[in-house]
């Protein structure tokens, strides 16, 4: 018997299983003998919390589909039925709708942690890429889900986003028709969005989350000091600054989960609509294809990108984007460290855009800028040239740049929920330039300044 050759350290029922399935070894590799740095801080709660919310969304979602009807004539009514007549339906629905916003809060915190401590840098580039893909897929999931209640915001939000594709030259109008499956957002659109929301996207999401965690466990977690704990090991090959994920961090995360659930429950029970930010008031009005509500805005987690979309006008392309790109090109050419190939590529890219500004209209560039504002996160591992990973050992003024970036992101988010106005537009345009400046000039500013010495081992004081 071939399996008897396997050297497993277990016997009895567990031994029988281990001969046939890597149960104990998987448990050890990912939990009881996965060594995580001992100096994790507050920011390290959010990865686990994101997993928790993913489970919550799947479970509440399954129960919602048992009562929901994906039919444009019945959808709005069926959500009201869940809220009013299904026993505890209101709770399940509010858990799901609040969970969507909580998911984005937690993911934004998790991404910010990555920025702070350089968690995207070698050898963790793939973890970051998988993470960015998860973020993209999550945005798609949220967007598809938002159509399902078939309220006014659902309807007009979907109308705007699907029409974004129509801005693509040549194929655009056919593409948006293909996505809708009808000449207007209608029953066909609702049905396919339902299919995407409940099965297609969640499957992709689960696969990506698995890849994200496998990649993480392959290279090991980063930490607030940005020190590689695997560089210092004991005789048994265990990192000196590592502690087993289970039980240390499982217990530690239970604390984080408790605090999170406290806040989450408070929102569900006392402010499930969160003043119109988590569930917009106009979405309590059934979809009316003939009338757009007087003020429409996406849900808060999309508004920074939405602001960037709105900021691009033909004037702004002339006095804002064009000079901005020329300055960028000048910096590329003046920089000594940049390879000639990179210079050539940058010149061609900027040149193509400048020609494009003349040929294609502002609507298309708005869509491009919005797409770029999300996609640019993918480039982080290659545009950050700082000598150290963690913000702790970077020049102090780097912290101000990060603070400014966060403020710009929040201001863009704020202008995105406001009705369009001339002042708001100028603020969003300045914000758009600052947002892109943070990333486009990072190869230069990130290596400037006086770096602090990085310790050999993580800094940790026992409590």
């Amino acid at each position: 018997m071939a399996t008897a050759d396997k050297n497993i350290g277990t016997s009895g029922v567990l031994g029988w299983v281990d001969q046939r399935f890597p149960l104990t070894s998987t448990w050890k590799a990912h939990l009881s003998e996965y060594y995580a740095p001992k100096n994790f801080n507050f920011w390290y709660f959010f990865g686990g919390l994101a997993t928790l919310i993913l489970v919550l969304q799947i479970v509440t979602g399954i129960f919602l589909t048992m009562h929901y009807k994906a039919d444009s004539a019945k959808a709005f009514e069926s959500v009201e039925y869940i809220m009013r007549d299904v026993p505890w339906g209101w709770l399940i629905r509010y858990m799901h709708s609040t969970g969507a916003s909580a998911f984005f809060i937690v993911i934004y915190m998790h991404m910010f942690r990555g920025l702070l401590y350089g968690s995207y840098r070698k050898p963790r580039e793939l973890i970051w890429i998988f993470g960015c893909l998860i973020f993209l897929v999550l945005m798609a999931e949220a967007f598809f889900g938002y159509l399902l209640p078939w309220g006014q915001m659902s309807y007009w939000g979907a109308q705007v986003i699907v029409n974004l594709f129509s801005a693509i030259p040549f194929i655009g109008p056919e593409l948006s028709l293909w996505i809708r499956g009808d000449y207007v957002v209608g029953d066909a659109t609702l049905n396919r969005f339902f299919a995407f929301h409940v099965i297609a996207i969640p499957l992709v999401l689960l696969g990506l989350v698995t890849a994200h965690i496998i990649a993480l466990h392959e290279v090991g977690s980063n930490n607030p000091d940005g020190v590689e704990i695997k560089a210092k090991k004991n005789a048994a090959g265990i990192p000196l600054d590592g502690i087993p994920f289970h039980p240390y961090y499982t217990v530690h995360d239970i604390m984080g989960v408790s605090v999170f659930l406290l806040a989450f429950s408070a929102v569900i029970f006392f402010a499930p609509e969160m003043g119109g930010y988590f569930l917009e008031y106009n979405n309590f009005v059934p979809a009316d294809p003939l009338k757009t509500p007087a003020h429409i805005a996406p849900v808060w987690y999309f508004t920074p990108y939405y602001s960037i979309l709105r900021a691009i006008t033909s004037d702004f392309i002339l006095w804002g984007l064009t000079p901005f790109l020329l300055v960028f090109l000048a910096v590329v050419w003046m920089s000594r460290g940049t390879k000639s190939l990179s210079k050539l590529i940058a010149t061609l890219a900027v040149g193509a855009m400048l020609v494009g500004f003349l040929v294609l209209d502002a609507k298309f560039w708005g869509v491009v800028a919005m797409g770029a504002s999300v996609m640019i996160f993918f480039s982080m591992p290659w545009i950050d040239n700082s000598k150290v990973k963690s913000i702790r050992y970077r020049p102090t003024w780097h912290k101000y740049i990060y603070a400014a970036f966060v403020i710009v992101f929040l201001v863009l988010g704020y202008t995105g929920v406001q009705p369009p106005s001339p002042v708001g537009q100028v603020i969003a345009q300045v914000g758009t330039l600052l947002y892109f400046a943070f990333f486009l000039f990072m190869p230069w500013w990130s290596e400037m300044g006086e770096f602090k010495p990085v310790p050999d081992r993580v800094t940790f004081a026992a409590h």
């Binding site: 007009w156 109308q159 705007v160 699907v162 029409n163 974004l164 129509s166 801005a167 109008p173 028709l177 293909w178 996505i179 809708r180 499956g181 009808d182 000449y183 207007v184 209608g186 066909a188 396919r192 294809p289 003939l290 009338k291 757009t292 509500p293 007087a294 003020h295 429409i296 979309l309 709105r310 691009i312 006008t313 033909s314 004037d315 209209d361 502002a362 609507k363 708005g366 009705p419 369009p420 106005s421 001339p422 537009q425």
Partner: protein, 209 residues
């Protein structure tokens, strides 16, 4: 080499038979093409169904008793069509906005070609009645009517009266022409339409007079 099936071994050189390698590549390529072709029905299933294509018949609208400055909405192909009875002041404002709009002659239409009878300043058959599809050429929201001239939220101080899109702030004049430097790039579409009688309008067809 391959003549000895009883003596199966996976030595490297035994597998290195180039004719079989070519057959393998050819078979894989044929398989890949077949698999890709299987995507066609799935991708095509996303297109509008025959039923969706069939819907879209012309609709009739009753314009009797409309007060000056009144707007009526009718649904045509799932989209709102506005009928506005314009006042003389509204028509007068078009002369001022002529130089402030992107495309005063409606040369670059959005989704529907501008019918010949609407290729004029009022963009209509009878100057008094404006008939346009109320869908913004930016991202498809339906603008709201802001007929009162003058300063008001989201609008300039010298607002001549027209339409404001609540989504991204595009503005249109009283003939549905888009103002310069706004996200939208084309005027509101004028649907094909014709007057059946003085008070009955057919929207979606201009052949049956």
């Amino acid at each position: 080499m391959a003549d000895h099936p009883s003596n199966v071994s996976f030595e490297h050189d035994e597998l290195n038979d180039s004719s079989r390698r070519n057959a393998l590549v050819a078979a894989s390529a044929a398989g890949a093409i077949g698999a890709a072709a299987c995507a066609i029905p799935f991708v095509t299933s996303f297109e509008p169904s025959e039923r969706a294509k069939a819907a879209g018949a012309p609709v009739e609208a009753d314009i009797s008793g409309m007060a000056p400055g009144e707007l009526r909405r009718v649904e045509w192909r799932g989209n709102p069509v506005w009928i506005v009875r314009r006042t003389p002041e509204m028509l007068e404002s078009l002369k001022v906005t002529e130089s402030e709009v992107v495309d005063p002659k409606s040369l670059k239409p959005y989704q529907l070609p501008t019918p010949p009878y609407a290729q004029n300043q009022a963009r209509s058959i009878k100057p008094e009645y404006l008939v346009v599809v109320g869908i913004c050429s930016h991202l498809g929201c339906s603008p709201g009517d802001k007929f009162t001239p003058g300063a008001q939220p989201s609008l300039p101080a010298d607002w001549p009266g027209g339409f404001l899109c609540p989504c991204h702030g595009s503005t249109f004049d009283m003939a549905g022409r888009v103002f310069k430097n706004k996200p939208a790039n084309a005027n509101l579409d004028v649907p094909p339409h014709t007057y059946l009688t003085d008070t009955r309008l057919l929207i979606g067809d201009d052949k049956k007079a």
